[in-house]
Amino acid sequence: MPFSSSPLDLSILTVLFWFFIGLTALAGSRFPRFPLYLLFLPGGLGGLFIAFSGLSGLNSHVETLILPLGLPGLPFHLRQDALTSGFLLMLGVVSFGISLFSAGYFKNDHDHSSPGFLIFCYHLFLGSMAMVLLSGDGYLFLLSWEAMAMASYFLVITDHQEPQVRQAGFLYLLLAHIGTLALFLTFGILSAKGTADFSGYAFDRMQGQPHSSLALAGAFFLAFIGFGAKAGIFPLHVWLPEAHPVAPSPISALLSGMMLKIALYGMVRIWFDLIGVTRLSWHWGAIVLIVGMLTALFGILFALTQNNLKRLLAYSSIDNIGIIIMGLGLSILFFGTGHPIPGVLGLIAALYHSLNHALFKGILFLGAGSILHATGEKNLNRMGGLIRSMPQTALLFLVAVLSISAIPPLNGFVSEWLTFQTALSVPLLQTGGERSLVALSAAVLALVSALTAMCFVKVYGIGFLGVPRSHTLPERHEATFFERAGMMWLAAGCLILGLFPATAVGKIETITRSLTGMDLGEVAHGAGWLWLVPQSARRASYSPFVFLVVIVGATVFTYLAIRLLFNPRIRRAPSWNCGYPVRTARMQDTADSFSQPIRHFFSPAYRMKRHLPTPTDEHPVFMVEIDDHSWFWFYQPVRKSVEVLSSLVGKLQTGRISVYLTYSFLTLLFLLFLVKSP
């Protein structure tokens, strides 16, 4: 790899490299003895390359390249600016960890009949995500977008022998395509008019094109729907909890960690770059903010009630996407009312949280995969005590649990802190409506983060602590070396982003500078790497490094003091348990009983079916089934109306050739009329 070349060249070479690995895997699958899983290691190396390219591209410089491929009159425009570089860096860092993990994970995975095809799709998926980021025109963007959707579809249906997997895959494909339709229209509205060829589809030409405010609003919301269907905003989230659990775990990690972020990249690109920050209206931001709040609340409430670990993580991804969307909404709202500093802060918070979520959700999904391999179990209700059989995985999982619960000094806290600081700029706003909405968003975010903590205490407490809830758990063993290495890489990312937020925010500011021409200003830069000061030192500051030193120092000092001054002896004995001598694993909480207070308190949010036994039942059964209201209020009516429409259209299909010939004749007449009429 030529490291001396420009970042864009390096990115393109990496995409080609990934494609080449994919082809090697296809070719290698003809030789059954060939250890295909080893191909994930060079794939991970590609991740490092593209991360390097992203890191060196994080400046105000925009690189472009026009490749003479594609349609006549519409060559491929490639473009790498700071926003692209930031997401490429994320893609590289996350995919390196996941590829390392996959090398260990797929080594022992004999279920998949064609690992060659899986590895091909995996690298095609990585490459197409990079191409979405690198595209500089609407055409290449949609082409890569579709390649990404197809590659991920094949990855989701890896276990396609099971009917529910195929069903989940179909749902995913359906929503992906509805989203793509909306994107087609977005680019159609935004394209530059008055050119003879198709060059109006290049992003450079779209920026700052004069459009009516109605057209801009249309483009804004079509992009919101189109990318939102991929990102999982409420109520377009339904594919996420179906597709994530059925995909192999590294694939779920990549879907949730990275692909959802590509959709967010699309939103930021269209809203802040192509429409432009000066043309955003605060009303749009308010709507985005409300949708974000609903998405976050919905996601975490449903995550809390799940007992399938991967399904729970999928719902929690919806929650985190909601938090990111809230950050974007706040940013638009502040930009739209003429307050650029909190606007920039909101954008930074959203981008920071995207990166954080990619890292910790990566660990959580990978950890779920390791658990599945070690115990064969996806259901939390049958897990327990894993901290004793897989202590290292348990430690790495704990880092992710603390990060996602926004516990200082880890990374999840930083982005949440930044979002709170944005929302607390509310006194700048003028009207009561804006103010109440932003204030309410702070309240919702606080509630969501507390619920997240409860949700992940449940995951960790039920899954890793206690004693095993089922005796049938087969060979329980520690995750393999590569699996742990992959998770360790991501956990290191969580720690670094948690401890050096000022440096990270400084890097993200290059993105906001290139998008909006604005950053946080002198105060933020003057404080040094130790202090995160978003607006002014008097207003708020945070230093996780000092925080960590103090808390570790206090803990160690307490430990030593207690050991030296008081009785240091320990005696092992059976647990006390309030004096009850009998103790079985079934007396512990299950995932469902742990979240029972939530089901009780938020019962209107769920569509619950419960069955409780009567005292005389010989075979008592406790059952609770939880469904999503949106299926019944939104999707069922849509499905019914589609059915009605298609049966109406079906009346046209009589099956007689004379009728079809009449249709052709009438169409011809109509077309002739159209051509002749002027």
Partner: protein
């Protein structure tokens, strides 16, 4: 405030850090005394003879000197947790201004981070309770998290309300601004104080949410999480909850009754500020005891309603700042 920290030369930073350390140690070692004071009042109010204001110290000393019995099969998490919880409470004690607002390490963590510190301690406590796999531990953890999911955002909103008035989330700045302003009765602060009092009851496992003096299996929350602890571990956990109680009262003092606090750490101001603090605490303590003695314990499923009231009051406080005060 922070910029001045970074630019001040080391010789000036050193005594100020010593001042912060002094305040922290003061809180750590006064916490059992405050608990003893509340317990004394509780005994008097229920017509009992009190065990003396120093009883919590005797209890701590006794448990610290006993050998620790650890359940077989306990993971390292179980044994590390008491130290982490104590360490985070120590950090919380150093962050909240009680005697002085001149805290050189204050800029490291603001009001949001303070809530994060409590959350850190709570998560570890709940996890440790679930570690052994006893039904009581799980029950305690579940109930604790049930209380927390409303109490924590409510705390956050109360702190935000105070931070809106002073335009800052830094705890020292809030205390300084509220302490030096001309006295007016802000409606938002009235709502916030009410809400915060409800939160104190819930977060520190006092009546009517939890009863600190019983081990009734079906009603306990905090005690259920500590059931498996003994010896020095139990002592650390009990001490930590005493510190937590005092820190919560310190927040009330510094936000809602901030008069008489030393704005600079000096020999002249600190004794005066200390006397002020003792007076405020010795009035607030009996208030809590009276409240507890007159309330009956709520049914567990009423607890979320109680806390939802606290949360809504806090949100109303936050909103009323805009509607009525700006």
């Amino acid at each position: 405030m922070m910029a001045s920290n970074l630019s001040t030369p080391l010789p000036s930073l050193l005594p100020r850090s010593l001042g912060e350390l002094f305040q922290t140690v003061l809180i750590l070692f006064l916490a059992p005394l405050f608990l003893g004071w509340i317990n004394t009042w509780r005994s008097w109010l229920s017509n009992r003879k009190s065990a003396g204001i120093l009883q919590p110290y005797r209890d701590l000393y006794k448990t610290l000197n006993k050998e620790a019995v650890v359940a077989t099969g306990a993971s390292p998490l179980f044994r590390v947790t008491p130290y982490i919880v104590f360490g985070s409470m120590g950090l919380a004690a150093s962050l909240v201004p009680t005697v002085t607002t001149d805290l050189p390490f204050g800029p490291a963590a603001d009001a949001i981070a303070l809530v994060g510190v409590f959350s850190l301690a709570r998560i570890f406590m709940a996890l440790a309770a679930m570690d052994i796999g006893t039904p009581f531990g799980d029950m305690g953890a579940r109930r604790e998290m049930m209380i927390a999911f409303l109490a924590e955002p409510a705390t956050m909103m109360v702190l935000f309300t105070a931070s809106l008035i002073s335009r800052s989330t830094s705890l020292s700045t809030i205390a300084l601004t509220l302490g030096t302003r001309h006295f007016t009765l802000y409606p938002s602060l009235v709502f916030a104080t009410t809400s915060f009092f409800l939160i104190i009851l819930a977060e520190n496992s006092r009546l009517p949410i939890d009863n600190p003096s019983t081990h009734l299996e079906l009603t306990m929350i905090h005690e259920a999480m500590l059931l498996e602890y003994s010896g020095r571990y139990l002592a650390l956990m009990e001490w930590s909850s005493a510190i937590k109680l005092l820190v919560y009262f310190s927040i009330i003092i510094s936000f809602f009754l901030p008069w008489g606090m030393a704005s600079i750490f000096s020999v002249a101001d600190v004794p005066k500020a200390f006397v002020f603090m003792v007076i405020k605490l010795s009035i607030l303590g009996p208030l809590l005891a009276i409240l507890e003695s007159t309330l009956a314990k709520l049914r567990l499923f009423r607890a979320p309603e109680f806390l939802a009231a606290a949360y809504l009051l806090a949100v109303i406080a936050f909103l009323s700042h805009f509607i009525l005060e700006v």
